[in-house]
Symmetry: C2
């Protein structure tokens, strides 16, 4: 059995640091557990109290005879280590360390935190926290609210993990207003032992959890996270609110690829690639979870809107468009039938407008027709409360509709409705309050249902690795060529010549001449590139001018690169970088010297599937151009895909490569593919 | 006195169609007026009732002797015209026609609507509606809620206009939850007479209104709207929620410019250009209005965040970034002072973290320090309710701070706080409920405070207009040249030659050869362009091949265009189109044959100021490149600005021009500007 099981489903709990002082966390947490009606056995330890809230207190842990599944520790930080040692001695395996003042306060705190975690690990135990705000299991056979927010969470089927205790508290504070329900809540705090990876893996196997919601500020081990969500078994929806976005590029980025990569872009990339869902805010996070809990999965994006009010329907349609969904087109049959229900001054097109007279019967009849239409995948039913129609009867009519297609109700009622509905249907289907909400839910649910398990590239352990001559920094041109050959990267045939060798060159003209050597990275700025050289004589002249220019700037040209001059149709960028969270990543997009400005790139983990490569190309403007627009022929997409896969394989095999730039890769007018310049940085 | 005054401030009201039937609009509206406590005289007309809700009813309008400022009409539509005629006979000048069933139902309804509006106009009166849901004035000396939503709106300083009655109703339904307050609300319905333009102009001169909020689905007369908001006098903030966005290009667009223009893009363009504010949703609309009502204008974008909770502060900082605001950097002095207040395990950097122990005193002290820092323009104060600190004391402390800088409180409390705060401070400053909200408010308030009144281009009535040879459709190449000369558009020097004249051409080589004539619009696709022709012989050969190709497609080349072959550094697009709402518009951006794909354009009304031109250029990637990146020299920005202003002047002078495309305009390596191709379509 997974060691997290006793954490979420403990039969007995010890609270070390329970307190009789109202307002203290040790009191409030104990009171909350009691008030919420925990079904297991609760044991309290406090050296100076006989009883707390009517429960007998033990002075020390040693006094306790009963077996303990879970210890919740909220003693002052100076007593934490000793307390946990006593718990270990007692044989306790699961811990929630609420106490703060560890890693978040600096090096000394981190040291103690690590020591505690190591001791628990050595004893075969697991720990949540420190610096967290506890855990909730709303299910009937547990009923544990081990937090210090004394709200009464309703039972749902969602797991909610929060890296920020305070954000968890804010969500708990709002439960009565937002109607959020969940099965489990866990605040993971400093993640000294148990991280989102452990919880996600556990929830994937807990049948009480249907959808996972995560508030994260950082990934504990992004590579492992990808491994967990990238298995056939782990198929539940994962919705992530990732905070701490930054628009800055990677620190110390020294290539185009590096400048365009940022930690937030990597997060978006892997979320897209692995079929996860990114929420923009708390509202979207929980609305989407509600979608998965209470509504069937949409089969497609064609959406019907039925309303009693024009304005809100228009806002809904605007959001459909923003979310890339389609306004369904109704069949003529359906329209004929709608005509018999809808007021003649209303509308039988999409959105169907029932006018303010729309009543429970007309809503029900119309929606039942719409879900029968083969051209409709989803229905959004909007109801603005008018004077004459009572909302409760309308929601009852809508909720009574039986269909395998989702029907999302949006109500804009007087405030009384919320309480009324909650009282009558405590476990009723959720109602949305903004006409824009369901579109976001539909889009997010479709991301999940379109998710497939693709075959992906993996690092090849057996690859015979090149020993690079350079240490840190950029690889030498010769090493670059060796690596390009190993992975069949389409490097333009280049001759590398010492200055004195130039006069003996045997080549077809026209050619391009480039200066190379240490300190020569951005060749164009230094005027180290001369195009379209048509003869031996021109070549020597160009080299002389170049050498002269460089000397003025105090740079010696070590050697020259001579390449055929080719006719460019497109300039693309292929790149790779090593993300600190998610490891090897690749990039595709518009290339050339203005690449940072065009910013037309798509990023993915190097664990590419064929589908990913197609998506990378499709996601960019360059991809669209390559496919041929305005009657032009398509470029060699197959060659590009192969190059991208090879580059990804290289990134997976050579973990020491931190940045790779193939920019530009020229697509010639006769559809050939040449990387004019490859720059590779290693750690 | 403005004729709208009696509409918003009526001393006496007649309700034609008052009813004693509970649930009918005639009853509910009357009841709402009474319940809200209208301060003026209320007169009811109903042919079959003696009294309604305790008020005596007149059988007919003729019976009434008292003077009537405003008639609210909600009789069935078949009686509407007659009722209004009676009102006109009685001398009533202001009308709200609630009754529906007119223009929105088709041509017959539109006819009646127009007739009614004309009759009222002829009698010197003004009408709101039909098909609207009424009007509210919350001010103490009026207290009129003439709608059928029986909520009790609180008094504020915002004007709220809704084109959708239902959306207005939805907002009114939500008042108790959202805490939205306004001075006036008006539902304009079909806008048969009074449109948003009349109301905006009226509100600009009503000192009770500080900020204007508009929900619009269409602009009644966009040109007039721009004239109204483009005066020095009309300086109040205007916040627009414009629904009915569409991603489709203009219908029947036949040029690049046309394809890139859409009604939604035009709306965004004029909102940006004229310093108005566009809200994305109702929440942003009213949050922004609250900002203007209750907080001082921010002087800049440098924002400090103070919090008792990490997670929500990170979400706030993320949103700051998204909104283009800056996280303020604190001076060392301030940091030293902060150290004496903030818990040592908290943070004295931005965001300042007071930890869950943050109390009223520490919030107040810290914020008072922050607003003193010269590097801070705004403060966002976030408070997640913990067990030990009561939120009401914290909000009192925050609200008591005196500063000319805005301090936006974000509270994430237990639900009790909302009611408690409202009860204690019924007219208190608003509190925001999401950490993301204030950033949007600050951004929007800065849009307003950065607004300047620029000198703008106007149409020149005296311009000597060219008589075009063609009728509908594209102008002939000769007319294009004449127009380009009139406005000094930088058309590349071209020779236009009949096929037989080619052999006599006297020109310097290299040149470009282009096919021209009817049916030849997109020259590249038809292979009607040959570049870099180096001799007379090559020229004739190229013309022969071209002619041959065209004949195969059944097209006769009428004449050839010969232009010098120039070395391209950049290809830009200058364009113009006539927007159905806002009239002449201009466009600047990346040019070339892939212009629709790059979609890198900025759009503005042709009523350009110099500042607008700079912004158009700055808003695009091309603009950044033109300024010189990676050490390159800047292009001739002055020439580009002059060309854009000339094009705008042309659009303003020639109203019959529906689309203009200068694409590409070549910026040469020696910094010259040449429009290679100009296409002009006229209505």
């Amino acid at each position: 059995m997974n060691t997290l099981h006793k954490l979420f489903y403990p039969g007995s709990i010890l609270i070390a640091g329970a307190s009789s002082k109202k307002g203290s966390i040790g009191y409030e947490l104990t009171a909350t557990i009691l008030k919420y009606g925990y079904k297991g056995k609760l044991l309290l330890v406090n050296p100076s109290a006989d009883e707390i809230l009517g429960i007998k207190c033990f002075k020390t842990i040693n006094e306790i005879r009963a077996e303990i599944d879970l210890a919740i520790i909220l003693v002052p930080k100076q007593f934490t280590e000793e307390t946990i040692e006593n718990c270990i001695a007692k044989g306790i395996k699961s811990y929630i360390l609420i106490t703060a003042g560890f890693k978040e306060t600096g090096a000394q705190g981190e040291l103690v935190e690590k020591r505690i975690a190591a001791k628990i690990k050595a004893a075969g135990g697991r720990m949540v926290g420190p610096n967290c705000m506890g855990l909730i299991n709303t299910l009937d056979d547990v009923k544990l609210n081990a937090t210090f927010v004394a709200e009464h969470p309703e039972t749902g089927k969602t797991g909610f993990l929060s890296q920020s205790g305070a954000l968890g508290a804010a969500v708990l504070n709002s439960l009565r207003e937002t109607g959020i329900r969940f099965a489990h809540f866990i605040s993971v705090g400093n993640k000294a032992d148990i991280s989102e990876n452990d919880v996600v893996e556990y929830w994937m196997n807990d049948e009480n959890i249907h959808a996972l919601t995560l508030y994260l500020e950082s990934f504990s081990d992004g590579r492992k996270f990808l491994d967990i969500v990238n298995t056939k078994r782990n198929r539940k929806p994962v919705i992530i609110l990732k905070a701490g976005k930054t628009t800055e590029g990677m620190r110390a980025a020294s290539s185009h690829t590096g400048a365009l990569g940022s930690s937030d872009r990597s997060v978006n990339a892997v979320i897209d690639q692995f079929g996860l869902i990114r929420a923009d805010n708390l509202n979207d996070l929980f609305n989407t979870a509600k979608g998965f809990e209470y509504f069937p999965l949409p089969a497609g994006n064609r959406t019907a809107v039925v309303t009693n009010a024009g304005g809100p329907a228009i806002l809904a349609v605007d959001m459909l468009g923003k979310c890339g969904l389609e306004l369904a087109k109704f069949s003529e049959n359906i329209k004929t039938e709608l005509k018999s229900i809808v007021h003649p001054e209303g509308s039988i097109n999409n959105p169907v407008d029932l006018l303010p007279g729309g009543n429970p019967e007309s809503y029900k009849k119309v929606i039942e027709l719409l879900v029968k239409d083969e051209g409709v995948d989803n229905v959004i039913a909007i109801f603005v409360e008018p004077v004459m129609v009572k909302p409760i009867a309308v929601i009852e009519a809508i909720n009574s509709i039986q269909s395998s297609k989702p029907v999302f109700p949006v109500f804009m009622p007087l405030p009384e409705f919320r309480d009324d509905y909650k009282k009558r249907y405590p476990a009723g289907k959720p109602v949305f309050w903004n006409p824009e909400d369901p579109s976001i839910v539909i889009r997010n649910m479709l991301i999940y249902s379109n998710r497939t398990n693709e075959k992906r590239l993996k690092g090849n352990e057996q690859v015979k690795k090149i020993q690079f001559t350079a240490g840190d920094g950029f690889l030498s041109q010769r090493d670059v060529i060796r690596l390009a050959e190993q992975y069949s990267l389409p490097l333009l045939n280049s001759e590398i010549l010492r200055p004195h060798e130039l006069k003996n060159i045997k080549t077809e003209f026209p050619v391009v001449l480039k200066a190379a050597g240490e300190g020569i990275v951005h060749k164009t700025e230094l005027k180290g590139v001369e195009l379209n050289i048509k003869s031996q004589q021109e070549l020597l002249k160009a080299a002389e001018v170049m050498s002269c220019n460089f000397k003025e700037q105090g740079i010696e040209i070590e050697y020259y690169i001579v390449q055929p001059f080719i006719k460019t149709r497109f300039e693309i960028l292929l790149g790779g970088f090593n993300d600190p969270d998610f490891g090897p990543m690749v990039m595709f997009g518009t290339g050339g010297k203005y690449v940072e400005y065009y910013n037309d790139v798509s990023i993915r983990s190097a664990m590419l599937s064929d589908k990913d490569v197609d998506e990378m190309i499709n996601n960019t403007v360059m991809g669209k151009l390559l496919k041929g627009v305005r009657g032009e022929a398509a470029a060699d997409l197959c060659g590009i895909k192969t190059a991208l896969l090879s580059l990804a394989q290289m990134m997976l095999d050579y973990k020491e490569v931190s940045e790779v730039d193939l920019n530009p890769v020229i697509i010639t007018e006769d559809n050939q593919l040449f990387a004019v310049d490859i720059r590779i940085k290693v750690k």
